[in-house]
Symmetry: C2
Subunit: 180 residues, 2 copies
């Protein structure tokens, strides 16, 4: 951030009175520009014991597999965001269930929230951000080709809940990825 | 938003190619400035059957009661944010437990997440954002003087879980407040 989005003048990092962290502060109008983590909302859609996965057609992690997920927008709820992302990425209409994973991804400045979901009808297709979309059985999940650690955490929690018959939520931090 | 924070030139609302919503787009460098909901993290701290509440010393809702909560920062996890806010607002060190409420507050463009928490030692004091801090029994919670609907939802869920012996999570939208 270099300029104030309210007045167009330059910003500089400084610690405002009563604060404890450096913020971008406008040198002209004094506006403080806070930066906060972004929310990613997604779900693990199931149909008849199989899970819906999307092969990413965009960076980062082009060609790797994910469950439907993306940035939450204004004017929508967290479950609605997860359903919208599923419609956009997999052209699939799901019923959102319990929240099963809350994953802090500190490196990316994001928090990822995943819900269990039902795909009542096996109708789906690749949206513009997907190369392909597939229903896979638990024993054919491409664990080594998943796009992000949070996706693995969500799918593992889904399977754990399926085995236990519960709707448990896991709250954890994603392991840091090496920056090459 | 009026100016691009990258180049300082003016922005205008327009729908980028392949998008479906108007965004602030820089007329000069083309940068798209997305706007997303902010995360508020809080907790319901309990000590010996009583709950820790703070009387707000800041707007909005000056003088009303809340559980410790505030905006999540970069470089911290969601549970760490809830613990930090408790330290700042109530000078209290808590052990964060299960997530018990995820409340979409569409009007405020926020999502509020609350955790159960233990206050092992009854040591607390009003931080700069609090007028006073008190441990209250469940039957003396000032329901009519709570600051926000999400606070009521979190405290109610805490008491419900306490009664059931479970750690259930409620996911819901806050009722819209009338804008006077």
């Amino acid at each position: 951030m270099k300029y104030c989005n309210q007045c167009g003048q330059t910003v500089a990092l400084s610690v405002p009175d009563g604060d404890h962290k450096p913020r971008y502060v406008c040198m002209s109008c004094g506006m403080i520009h806070y930066q906060n983590p972004l929310i990613v909302a997604g779900c693990v859609p199931e149909h008849d014991g199989r899970i819906l996965l999307c092969k990413r057609a965009i960076e980062p992690r082009y060609g790797f597999w994910t469950v439907p997920a993306g940035f939450m927008e204004l004017d929508e709820s967290l479950p609605a965001a997860a359903a919208r992302e599923t419609l956009e990425e997999a052209c699939a209409e799901v019923e959102i269930g319990a929240m099963i994973a809350s994953v802090d991804v500190l490196q990316a400045r994001q928090v990822h929230f995943f819900f269990a979901a039902k795909l009542p009808v096996a109708e789906f297709a690749a949206g513009p951000e997907s190369l392909e979309v597939e229903l896979v059985t638990p024993d054919s999940i491409p664990w080594d080709d998943l796009a992000f650690p949070s996706v693995r955490i969500a799918v593992e929690q889904y399977l754990r809940n399926k085995a236990s018959g519960r709707d448990d939520l896991i709250v954890c931090e994603a392991p840091r990825r090496k920056l090459l």
